[in-house]
Symmetry: C2
Subunit: 399 residues, 2 copies
């Protein structure tokens, strides 16, 4: 396969880099944030909305789509791009994380996994080969290997076992035939253990994937631990390949991890928090439901070029949220995604122009991050909710 | 006030007519359907979406907006047009219907009404004068008088009492000062009693309103009864003024009532049924959740020029509805509203070209209407739900 990634510029003070991923559906300038469209839709948005906020690549999820509507439907509709009306680059996650979090697991062994659907309780089996084949049939530009993603734990034995299985599966995934233009990314595991992270990075690098994801983080460990693991992993990955940190998407985390040399990100956080009424500004999140916004005749972020800020006042958004109006979710999602896209663009420009170090300091000095304890408590609630959703056999993630 | 309505053409075979309402925010060609944006938003749509589907006038609701966010907020934001971002003509309902259906009524007498908010149970009083003043302050182009709208009943005494009070209130509303360019419409009551309908029409006509609404119908009576009352009422209203049938919006009802000389309509039916997955086609409604649509690679209505039909397949919409994805509600609402707007446009053109009678016959021969018993049962469920909503003090109308 021809070259699919190019590094244009690396920051002299940090590990940040500007590059471009080449896919048959278009170029993806990096660092990049991928909006999450698990069920073949980024919640509340059309593909045109995604273009308008500046998305260049969208993530979808093989686990969700395998269960509903089924890969045969997507294939019959001409592939995932045509099915959902998105003509740009697309990455699909294998479903490893979802199977180990959302689904009710029946058996995991070296052959693969047997699980029950979180939608209707039906039983399914999935091998690493199946995971690649499903994504191939859906027509993804970037395909993720099947990995075993254990929950956050201090049990090194459990994490080593999952890592070693992930490695065996990665090797099998690597051998599965796929279309010429489809890239496959490996996934580094190893929990919060530096030696495992190094071992996993080196092993996967030996398999020569088109890119490398860092999995198994942002699952309840502290922020310092996340950053330390990212550093360990990035140090062992080849500079010539893209690096993808899975499940990270708060503005402050994006900045800190770009600084450590990460190129791709995905997370439901910007869109989920938007639907909850938490809107991003350069000063931090604001809670749009707050009574102080009831009569404020300003944009969420004065100067923001998103559709929502261009057209509607904070007072109107406050009213829509208080009235539980559907329009609230779309307008808030547009703003948060545009904020993140602009942030990625500002970082890329700073890297190219040699000022990323200053940008990072300036941004973090201004941006009031969510308190670490609050953040972990929120994360915990979210993870528990995912389990609850699984137990209730109900996938709806609506606010 | 200068002329605000003009009849361009009247159908020689039916009572249908093509005209235009003149407002300071633009012209409204009639017959016209007004999408319902009770809480300063047509559910799931932006003002740009409304323009795109061809809406020329939007309805909002003084009762809802008085309670939340409050008229002072809307006034401070520069009026309802600016608050919700809709620059075209706007009609506001006085809230009479909502007070008598959604709110918990404390007292009604000739002075006005005292009711409890369905949102938080707070007590409010409203006189006919207040109702006009609220709408004036919001900046509506067309203002509705406060009426007493009793539920469907065979008790002629009850209906006469409500009608007589509506007349007294109308007279007081007529005298309230408002901006030069704001038009006020009276509302005919009289239930399902032909003599009361005639009496009400004649009395209101004597007060010389800019237009006349037909209220108190489509509340559970049979379709034949509705049409008979419309005929009685229209016959007694002046030909030179617009006639507005409140709460009617199914495709077949629009056609039948345009044939009887009605010029304006509003109803939450097209948008509400859209959110329930019932989509309009020239052959009738289809239930998009039906398994037969799971793999159908076609538009909802081949030939439809709406955004949804231009971009997405029935299979994708089926998937969005089955997955309870927010995008489903927006795409379905766009289609149903566009269908209704195109229907109104086709009727207007047929009237102008002299072929309305044929159009009506052709449309009704093709359009499979919802069975009358099913329709009444649905209406009954909806009315009961409104009472339940009131009792639960919760205004959310989300699907």
């Amino acid at each position: 396969m021809s070259q699919t990634f190019e590094v244009e510029k690396t920051c002299p003070r940090t590990g940040a880099r500007a590059g471009v991923i080449i896919t048959s559906h278009g170029l993806v300038p990096t660092p990049v944030f991928m909006p999450v469209g698990s069920q073949a839709t980024v919640k509340a948005l059309t593909p045109d909305d995604l273009r308008d906020v500046g998305a260049t690549i969208v993530l979808s999820n093989a686990y969700h789509l395998y269960l509903r509507p089924g890969v045969h439907v997507i294939e019959k509709m001409g592939g995932l791009h045509r099915f959902m009306g998105w003509s740009g680059p697309m990455l699909t996650d294998s479903g490893g994380y979802q199977i180990f979090s959302l689904a009710s697991l029946r058996r995991v062994d070296d052959r693969g996994v047997i699980f029950r659907s979180h939608i209707d309780g039906s039983e399914h089996s999935l091998t690493p080969e199946d995971a690649i084949e499903l994504q191939r049939r859906m027509g993804a530009d970037i395909i993720m290997v099947l990995d075993e993603c254990p929950p956050y734990t201090k049990d090194v034995g459990q994490v080593r076992q999952a890592m070693e299985r992930t490695h065996k599966w990665a090797e099998r995934c690597r051998r599965v035939a796929r279309d010429e233009e489809q890239q496959v990314f490996g996934i580094v595991q190893g929990g919060v253990f530096a030696d495992l992270r190094r071992e996993s990075s080196e092993y996967l690098t030996s398999l020569d994937f088109a890119g490398y994801a860092i999995g198994g983080l942002s699952l309840g460990e502290g922020k310092e631990e996340t950053l330390a693991m990212v550093e360990e992993t990035v140090a062992c990955l080849p500079a010539a390949k893209p690096r993808y940190l899975m499940g990270v998407g708060s503005p402050e985390d994006l900045v800190e991890n770009v600084a450590r040399g990460v190129d791709l990100f995905d997370s439901a956080l910007p869109t989920r928090t938007a639907r909850n009424g938490a809107l991003f500004t350069d000063k931090g999140r604001l809670n749009i439901r707050n009574a102080r916004y009831r009569e404020l005749d300003e944009a969420i972020e004065p100067g923001c070029d998103c559709y929502t800020c261009q057209r509607f006042s904070v007072a109107y958004l406050n009213h829509l949220f208080r009235s539980s109006e559907l329009l609230a979710y779309r307008l808030a999602t547009i703003h948060n995604l545009r904020f993140v896209m602009r942030l990625m663009g500002r970082m890329r420009q700073a890297i190219v122009e040699g000022g990323f170090g200053d940008f990072r300091e300036g941004f973090l000095a201004e941006y009031r991050t969510t308190d670490e304890d609050v953040r972990l408590a929120q994360k915990q609630r979210w993870l528990e909710r995912a389990v609850r959703v699984r137990d209730e056999c109900d996938s709806t993630e609506e606010p």
